[in-house]
C-alpha cells in the first residue's frame, strides 16, 4: 500500500493555519473562572440561600403601590429633563470636538487635544462623574445633567470621529478641487457622508442618557434615582416596584421614539432632507424599486 500523502508531498497537509495560542488562552480562561468562583466563595449552598431570599423579596414587591404619584411624576420628569438637557448639550459639544479629532481632516496639533478631551470624558463611569459633580456644584439635577453631558461628549465624540475617519476622501477631494473654503468642504463633502450615522449615535445616546438619568439620583445628582434609593432603604418595596415599572415605561417610550427618528433619517437622509422629510421618504421608495 502506498502512502497517499506521498503523491501530494508538494502540497501542505493542512490548508488551515492552526495556532496554539488561542487554545491555550481558552484553557487559561476556564481555569480562571473556576479559580474566581473559589475565591468569591460562590458555592451551591450560597446560591440556594440567595434564591430563597430573592423569592421573599419579589413577593414583597407586589402589588406595586402607586399612591405617591406626585413624588413619582416629579422624579421622572426631572430624569427626563436631565436626559434631554445632557443629550442636547453633549451632542452640540461633541460635534466640534469629534471633528477636530478626525485625523484625516485635521493636523496633529488639533487632533491631539481633541482626542485627550474624548479619552478623559470616557475614562469614568457616569456615576463616578456624577459624584464628582455633586461634590463640585452641589446636590441636584445640575450635577446629573453635567455628568451625563460629559458621558455624551465622550461617546458621540469618539463615534463621530470614527465615522469621519471612514469617509471617502475622493468626494472630499472633488469639493476641494472646486476651490471651496474648508467650511464649505465640510458642509458638502464631509457632513453628507456621516449625517445618517450621526443621527444613529444621537438617538442611541438619548436612549442611554434616559437610562442613566434614572440612576444618577442614587448619588444625589437629581432624578427618580434618589426616590428609588430612599424607597429601598425604607423597605417600601411596593413603591420600589411602582418606580421600576414607571422607569421601564419611560425607557420603552424613549426607545419607540428613537426607533422612529432612526427610521426617518438613517440610510436615506442628507442634510437638506431634514427639512423635507416627505422627499426623503419618496426617495427611499424609489431606491427600493431599483
Amino acid at each position: 500500500m502506498t502512502d497517499p500523502t506521498a503523491t501530494v508531498a508538494a502540497l501542505p497537509a493542512d490548508p488551515f493555519r492552526r495556532s496554539l495560542w488561542p487554545r491555550l488562552a481558552a484553557v487559561a480562561l476556564a481555569v480562571y473562572v473556576v479559580y474566581a468562583c473559589a475565591q468569591l466563595e460562590v458555592s451551591w449552598e450560597r446560591v440556594q440561600t440567595g434564591l430563597d431570599n430573592a423569592a421573599k423579596f419579589f413577593s414583597r414587591l407586589f402589588p406595586p403601590n402607586f399612591h405617591r404619584r406626585d413624588l413619582l411624576v416629579k422624579g421622572l420628569s426631572e430624569s427626563l429633563e436631565i436626559a434631554v438637557l445632557a443629550s442636547t448639550l453633549g451632542i452640540l459639544l461633541a460635534l466640534p470636538i469629534g471633528l477636530c479629532a478626525a485625523r484625516n481632516l485635521m493636523p496633529l496639533w488639533v487632533t491631539w487635544p481633541a482626542r485627550l478631551v474624548i479619552v478623559l470624558s470616557r475614562s469614568f463611569h457616569p456615576v463616578i462623574v456624577a459624584i464628582l459633580f455633586v461634590k463640585a456644584v452641589g446636590f441636584g439635577a445640575l450635577a446629573g445633567a453635567l455628568a451625563l453631558t460629559v458621558a455624551s461628549i465622550g461617546f458621540i465624540g469618539k463615534l463621530f470621529t470614527e465615522a469621519i475617519e471612514e469617509i471617502s476622501l475622493k468626494q472630499v477631494e472633488a469639493i476641494r478641487a472646486t476651490g471651496a473654503p474648508f467650511a464649505s468642504v465640510l458642509a458638502f463633502g464631509v457632513l453628507p457622508q456621516v449625517f445618517s450615522r450621526f443621527i444613529g449615535f444621537a438617538t442611541y445616546q438619548l436612549d442611554s442618557n434616559l437610562r442613566n438619568s434614572t440612576m444618577v439620583g442614587i448619588v444625589g445628582a437629581g432624578g427618580i434615582g434618589g426616590t428609588l434609593f430612599a424607597a429601598f432603604q425604607r423597605f417600601d418595596y411596593d413603591f420600589v416596584c411602582a418606580i421600576l415599572i414607571s422607569i421601564i415605561t419611560l425607557i420603552m417610550i424613549g426607545e419607540v421614539l428613537a426607533t422612529a427618528v432612526r427610521a426617518i433619517f438613517i440610510e436615506n437622509a442628507t442634510l437638506p432632507d431634514l427639512l423635507r422629510p416627505g422627499a426623503a421618504m419618496r426617495r427611499v421608495r424609489h431606491a427600493e424599486d431599483d
Binding site: 472633488a174 469639493i175 472646486t178 473654503p181 474648508f182 467650511a183 464649505s184 457622508q193 431606491a287
Partner: protein, 249 residues
C-alpha cells in the same frame, strides 16, 4: 494659457514619477495625454490643480505660478480649473442639483453654503447645464441612484458650473463602457469648443484619443516622448510610448 516648466514629482525620494515635464497648453480643444499605466499621467493632471504637490518646477496659469500658491490664493486659482474624475467623485448622498451647485462653492461664502443659499443665477445655470448634459429632470435624484455614464455627466456639469478657463479630466472614460465613453468624450469636445477653453484629458484608449483629441501628448516613464497632432501618432511612436509591439494589430 497654461505653461508647465520643468515639472517634477517624486512620491518617494529618488524614484521620480514626473521628470522635467514642460508643456504649453494654449490651444482650445482637447489635448489628450496618453501613456501606459503608472507613467505619471494622473500625477501630472493632479499637480496642475495641486491635489498633488509637485516636487519642483513651475505651473504658470493666468499670471501666477500655481506651484507657489497656498491658502486663499490657491483656492481662488482652483475656481477657474474644473476637474472631472475617473470615479466621478460625486458626493453620493447629495442630489444631482446639490452636486452641480457644489461647483459654485468657491464663489459662495461658507455661511451661505451651509444654509444652501445659492444665487438664483447659479441655480438657473445648473438647470440649463443639466439640459446640456442630457439629465433634465434628474435634479432631485440622489447621485448614488445614477448609472456610471449619468454620474460622469453630473461630474462634468459640476466642473462646468465653475465657469472654468481650463478643464482637467483624469481618465474620465476608464470606468465606462465603449459607447458611453464615446458619448462622454463628445460631451467634453462640445464643451471645449462651445466654451472655447482648453480641455486636458488623461486616457489610455489610443483610438478614443485619436478620434477626439486636437493634440496628443505621449508620456513614458514620467517624461513627454511625443507631442503633436493625432495624424503624426505613428505605430513607431506608439511603441516608444507604450513599449513592445505585440499589442498593435
Amino acid at each position: 494659457m497654461l505653461t508647465l516648466k520643468n515639472l517634477s514629482k517624486s512620491y518617494v525620494a529618488g524614484t521620480p514619477v514626473l521628470q522635467d515635464v514642460s508643456l504649453e497648453i494654449s490651444a482650445r480643444g482637447i489635448t489628450a495625454i496618453i501613456g501606459a499605466s503608472g507613467t505619471g499621467k494622473s500625477t501630472l493632471i493632479r499637480c496642475i490643480n495641486r491635489l498633488v504637490e509637485p516636487s519642483s518646477g513651475q505651473i504658470l496659469f493666468e499670471g501666477a505660478d500655481l506651484a507657489r500658491l497656498s491658502g486663499r490664493a490657491l483656492r481662488h486659482a482652483r475656481r477657474h480649473i474644473g476637474m472631472v474624475f475617473q470615479e466621478y467623485n460625486l458626493v453620493e448622498r447629495l442630489t444631482v442639483m446639490e452636486n452641480l451647485l457644489s461647483g459654485r462653492l468657491g464663489y459662495v461664502p461658507a455661511w451661505r453654503a451651509w444654509r444652501r443659499k445659492f444665487p438664483p443665477e447659479d441655480i438657473h445655470r445648473a438647470f440649463e447645464l443639466l439640459d446640456v448634459v442630457g439629465l433634465a429632470g434628474f435634479a432631485n435624484q440622489r447621485a448614488d441612484a445614477l448609472s456610471g455614464g449619468q454620474r460622469q455627466r453630473v461630474g462634468i456639469a459640476r466642473a462646468v458650473m465653475q465657469e472654468p478657463t481650463l478643464l482637467l479630466a483624469d481618465e474620465p472614460t476608464s470606468s465606462l463602457d465603449p459607447k458611453t465613453s464615446v458619448e462622454i468624450m463628445e460631451l467634453l469636445a462640445n464643451i471645449a469648443h462651445s466654451r472655447k477653453i482648453p480641455v486636458l484629458v488623461n486616457m489610455h484608449d489610443v483610438e478614443l484619443a485619436r478620434r477626439f483629441a486636437d493634440r496628443i501628448v505621449g508620456m513614458a516613464e514620467g517624461r513627454v516622448v511625443f507631442d503633436g497632432p493625432p495624424a503624426q501618432l505613428t505605430d513607431e511612436m506608439l511603441t516608444t510610448i507604450y513599449g513592445g509591439q505585440g499589442w498593435l494589430h
